[in-house]
Amino acid sequence: MTTGAVVTMVVMWLVFIGALTWCSSRLGKGGKWED
């Protein structure tokens, strides 16, 4: 693969994994699911 393609792949997966990990770490810090 070209260097650009590898960089794109690595950066994008870091973005997605980082974002979803951060969201997961916030789970339950706000409201309650039950009324």
Partner: protein, 502 residues
């Protein structure tokens, strides 16, 4: 009057899966990868992620948040803001309904291809590669010469359409609790199937060349307005917003539960799936390029052509297990689309009808399924593909973008972005700042209007859409006008609302 009990998701996980399932659809596999290749490779992902953050996620928070605030589907939400705005909620309902009438037909095609794959009906090897296109257009669709030649319904397609609507009825008639449980499967099965396809694709010769076309960045593309248009339009379409359904899905969230974090998770999961699907698609594209010795431009395509022509070409050229991979791919297409189909029907149409007219869930579901099936018969005729394309342009492009911009403006300026933000922050895991107000009030509507003007009116007014006769483009404006008039009519109808327990 007895208080109406709103139906609820069984738990947070099921809601998140339902939201992800509604967002993930056919576009993730057949539109995003092509756009990335066409508009600068890896560089396309920069405006795409920016569009996700400034347009997609704030818009999704608004739809979830307003649904939860009013505990109603889209029309009930806008009626709650002011009786004069109820039509703003009905317009996307009619658009969602029309989208579902042809979307389910595409699912019927995919079931047809599951059967075709078992015998590799379009042929094997080079014969299959050259015959895949004619098989789709001539033997599956029996395509006529133009939209004015409608012809008779193609019976196998009609049968698979009926079957798909029966399946949808049984998924939807018990409401959100069953929908959530089904969504867990309809999200995870395509993920698993995409993984299998990716592994198969990566082990084929030429796969790396395909991935280079998909991901190699062309930095100069960032200065091209078409790249930004493509990225923002993809974000506008990929999250299933502007189709009324997310208001209803939000209304099934408990009053004290999170909204913003769910919006982040659903949006990022959807986009991660698109990115992942691109690897599976372009590894096969690279394989076809090498096997047939053709340039990438001859192989890569978006939309129906990718799923029903390009992929069958690749499948016929595989060194082994052709039928197995074909069945897996078209099952993947079916499962990717089925949860968007029941999202459009249930959240987009059935829940608003129940809110307004007090119909039972079974009655509303049966009526929607039968009427949508009846309209869908048009797309199973020999001229159906042309009408599918024309109606898609009308409701899934113009309808979605215009009603989405209107909704953001009415909520942002009429209801009050600050009031909604306070409501969101009261119970959500992630608190949003005042920047969100301006995204909702200005950036999102302007972004959507940019897409609809630049990619829509400026194209379709001087030149007839898709090369169709001018009258076909005029039909688009008529359909759009009729759905708008129906919205005002439904606003004017006085009802007693839902009964207790419905």
């Amino acid at each position: 009057m007895a208080e109406v009990t709103r139906e609820r998701w069984s738990n947070r996980t099921l809601f998140i899966f339902a939201a992800i399932g509604s967002a993930i659809g056919l576009g993730n596999i057949w539109r995003f990868p092509y756009l990335s290749y066409e508009y600068g490779g890896g560089v396309f992902l920069i405006p795409w992620v920016i569009g996700l953050i400034v347009l997609g996620i704030p818009w999704m928070m608004m739809e979830f948040g307003m649904g939860r605030y009013f505990q109603k589907g889209a029309p009930g939400v806008f009626e709650g803001i002011g009786k004069k705005w109820e039509w703003v909620g009905w317009w996307p309902v009619f658009c969602a309904f029309l989208i579902d009438t042809y979307y389910v037909v595409i699912l019927a095609w995919s079931l047809r291809y599951v059967v075709s794959s078992a015998t590799m009906a379009w042929g094997m090897g080079e014969a299959g590669a050259t015959g895949a296109g004619s098989y789709f257009f001539e033997q599956v669709l029996h395509l006529s010469s133009g939209p004015s030649v409608l012809g008779a319904p193609v019976l196998p397609l009609l049968g698979f359409l009926a079957l798909t609507w029966v399946v949808l009825f049984f998924i939807m008639f018990k409401g959100a609790r069953v929908i959530g449980k089904v969504a867990v499967w309809t999200v995870t099965i395509p993920w698993a199937l995409l993984l299998v396809l990716l592994v198969r694709g990566l082990t084929l010769p030429g796969a790396i060349d395909g991935l280079n076309y998909y991901l190699s960045p062309d930095l100069a593309a960032l200065g091209n307005v078409d790249v930004w248009f493509a990225a923002f339009s993809q974000i506008a379409f990929t999250l299933s917003l502007g189709m009324a359904g997310m208001f209803a899905y939000g209304s099934f969230i408990a009053k004290k539960a999170d909204v913003t974090n769910n919006a982040f998770i659903a949006s990022f999961s959807n986009c991660a799936t698109s990115f992942f699907a691109g690897f599976a698609v372009f590894s096969i594209v690279g394989f076809i390029m090498q096997a047939l010795s053709v340039p990438v431009g001859d192989v890569s395509s978006a939309g129906l052509g990718l799923a029903f022509v390009t992929f069958p070409v690749g499948i016929s050229m595989l060194p082994g297990a052709n039928a197995f991979i074909g069945i897996l791919f078209f099952l993947c297409v079916f499962f990717l689309g089925i949860d968007s189909a029941f999202f459009l029907a249930y959240g987009g149409v059935i829940a608003p009808l129940m809110d307004k007219f007090g119909w039972s869930r079974v009655k509303a579901t049966a009526i929607v399924c039968v009427v949508a099936f009846a309209i869908g018969i048009v797309y199973t005729t020999t001229g159906g593909l042309y009408w599918l394309d024309i109606v898609d342009r009308t409701v899934c492009f113009y309808g979605l973008l215009i009603t989405g911009a209107l909704a953001c403006l009415v909520v942002g300026w009429g209801f009050g972005a600050d009031k909604l933000r306070a409501h969101l922050n009261e119970t959500s895991d992630i608190k949003v700042g005042s920047w969100w107000n301006w995204l909702l009030k200005i950036v999102v509507p302007l972004g959507l209007l940019f897409v609809v003007i630049y990619g829509g009116f400026l194209q379709d007014i001087p030149t007839s859409y898709g090369g169709y006769p001018r009258w076909a483009t005029n039909v688009m404006w008529i359909i759009l006008g009729v759905t708008l008039l129906l919205s005002f009519w439904f606003q004017a109808i006085k009802t007693k609302g839902p009964k207790e327990g419905e």
